[in-house]
C-alpha cells in the first residue's frame, strides 16, 4: 500500500464546553449547504467513537433541510445511552476545517437536547485526516491527507 502524503501537523488544544469542567477535542468549523452558511464557525466534537457524523436538528433545519419532508426518523442508531431515531441527510454538507474543504454526509439525531451542534466521526474527519490524541498533553494534532484537496 502506498503511503498517503499528509500535511504538517496542526496542534489544537482541548477546550472546555459551556457548563462543564471537562476538556474536549473540539474543532471550530465552517458549515454550509448550497450557499447557506452560519455567520460563525460551529464548535464540533472530534469523536473517534462515532461511526457516523452528526448534526443537531436545528443546524440541519437552518441549512435548509426539511426534516419533516424526510419522513419519520428511523430507528436503528445506538449509543451508550440507548437507541435513537435519526434522519440521514440526502445530500452532503460542506465543511471547511483550517482552510481544507470537504463534503461530508451527516445523520441528524431526533433529539433537540443533543449537547453538540456537530460531531465529526469516523466517516468524516477520520477519513480525511490522521488525528493523534494526546490528552495527557491537553492537545491533539491533525494531519490532513494531501491526496484529496
Amino acid at each position: 500500500m502506498r503511503p498517503i502524503p499528509l500535511s504538517s501537523p496542526i496542534k489544537i488544544f482541548y477546550k472546555p464546553l459551556p457548563n462543564t469542567n471537562l476538556l474536549w477535542p473540539i474543532l471550530d468549523v465552517d458549515i454550509s449547504y448550497k450557499g447557506k452558511a452560519f455567520p460563525q464557525k460551529i464548535l464540533s466534537l472530534v469523536d473517534s467513537g462515532a461511526s457516523t457524523s452528526i448534526l443537531h436538528p436545528q443546524l440541519a433545519t437552518y441549512l435548509g433541510f426539511d426534516l419533516q419532508q424526510l419522513g419519520l426518523p428511523k430507528a436503528g442508531g445506538i449509543s451508550v445511552s440507548g437507541n435513537y431515531k435519526s434522519w440521514i441527510l440526502p445530500k452532503p454538507v460542506s465543511i471547511n476545517i483550517y482552510g481544507y474543504d470537504f463534503s461530508f454526509n451527516f445523520t441528524v439525531i431526533d433529539n433537540h437536547n443533543l449537547i453538540w451542534g456537530c460531531i465529526l466521526g469516523e466517516d468524516s474527519i477520520f477519513s480525511v485526516a490522521r488525528i493523534d490524541f494526546q490528552k495527557f498533553k491537553k492537545f491533539f494534532e491533525i494531519r490532513f491527507r494531501q491526496d484529496l484537496n
Binding site: 477546550k15 462543564t20 464557525k41 437536547n113
Partner: protein
Amino acid sequence: MKNKQQYLKGLTPGWASISKDSKNVVAHAKTLTELIKKLEKKGNPEGVITRVANRFTSYVG
C-alpha cells in the same frame, strides 16, 4: 485561555456565541434561529457558535 464556563455561568440551556478569544459571550438564545438573529443585529461579529447544555460532570458518548 480562560475557562468558558466562567462566562457562561448562569446561562440557560440553548445556544451561545463565544468571542474568538473565548473571553466573552457574544450572544445567547434558546434556539439557534434566535441566536443568529441576535448576531445579525450585532453585525455578525467573529466568534464560534456552541450549545449550552445543563450542567454536567461527566460524559460517555
